[in-house]
Amino acid sequence: MLNYKKLLPVTLFSLCVSGQPLFADDTMTVPIKRLKMETALLIAQAAISQCRKEGVQIAVTVVDRGGHPQVMLRDVLAMDISLPISKQKAHTAMSFNTALSQLSDRFTKPYMAPKLEGLILGAGGVPINIGGNIMGGIGVSGAPSGKTDEKCAVAGLEAVREELELDG
């Protein structure tokens, strides 16, 4: 049995400290920041141009936090399948809020979450996380190694990071 009398002071104390009561919030909605299409486009173009510098033509997808693509670009010589793979990478990175290179050895058993349709764990996806706000994900596919894919995805994010951070 829980001793509520003992818990009460603890609860009151924690309410005072955090200043954020659990249920008595004064707003009924949550504002969520989203990328403009123009921003998503800047990210995608920066990823393409970074990979061209690396000497590979790739496909890149930027998804919003609903997992829906905002911009997809496939360089002229990039394979057709690189486009859906880039979308899956972007979606996975956004959902797990982690660069996919960090996840490669995390799900090793046969029936774990990433076996779900539409998710993929190969390196080349990074989340767009600005100050704790998850705004989407970037996925790159088409380079010979996932490392290069990820480098291009990161270059896409770096192209807009400062401005996004300034916008708060």
Partner: protein
């Protein structure tokens, strides 16, 4: 005499039949593809044109193989517009006809009803052929605006046309 004639005839006919094949081996042909820059400009201008009309849409460009080169989805375009835009572009490109025209022919019964159930095909106005110097080099599809006066005069299609017009000079002279 007859023997000479047969040999002569045989020589002529064989040269007629095989001359092209033996001289230059004609096993490869080339197609043209939009550069990523031009495909991007096309999609972007289609989006802008629809913005001017007050609509948030998605615009997709596919190459001659039907594979997506660029996809832009504007701020308030719903998630279904992605797939719809791609399928319109794919259909225009593969059927070698704008989807507004195809939809109109479907309504009149000129195109068999079953055609609209072809996997991947979407016979709804808004998909437009990209033509360059007399050849087809891909398709552009727009989705998200409300229907226009008719399938041939769909708003999606008008935005797609605006996108193509913005790169018309490059298409014809590059």
């Amino acid at each position: 005499m007859l023997r000479i004639f047969i040999i002569f005839f045989g020589l002529i006919s064989s040269s007629l039949l095989f001359s092209d094949d033996s001289k230059d081996i004609d096993t490869i042909y080339s197609t043209r593809t939009l550069s990523l820059d031009l495909a991007s400009k096309l999609a972007w201008q289609a989006i802008l044109d629809c913005r001017k009309r007050g609509y948030s849409v998605a615009a997709a460009v596919v190459d001659r193989g039907g594979n997506v080169q660029t996809l832009y989805r504007d701020r308030f375009a719903g998630p279904h517009t992605i797939e719809t835009a791609i399928r319109k572009a794919w259909t225009a490109n593969s059927f070698r006809q704008n989807t507004g025209e195809l939809a109109s022919l479907l309504q009149k019964g000129v195109i068999p009803n079953q055609v609209q159930h072809n996997p991947g095909a979407l016979l709804v106005g808004g998909g437009v052929l990209i033509q360059s110097q007399g050849g087809i080099i891909g398709g552009v599809g727009v989705s998200g605006a409300p229907p226009g006066k008719s399938e041939r005069q769909s708003i999606d299609g008008a935005c797609a046309h605006a996108g193509i017009e913005s790169i018309r000079e490059n298409l014809e002279f590059d």
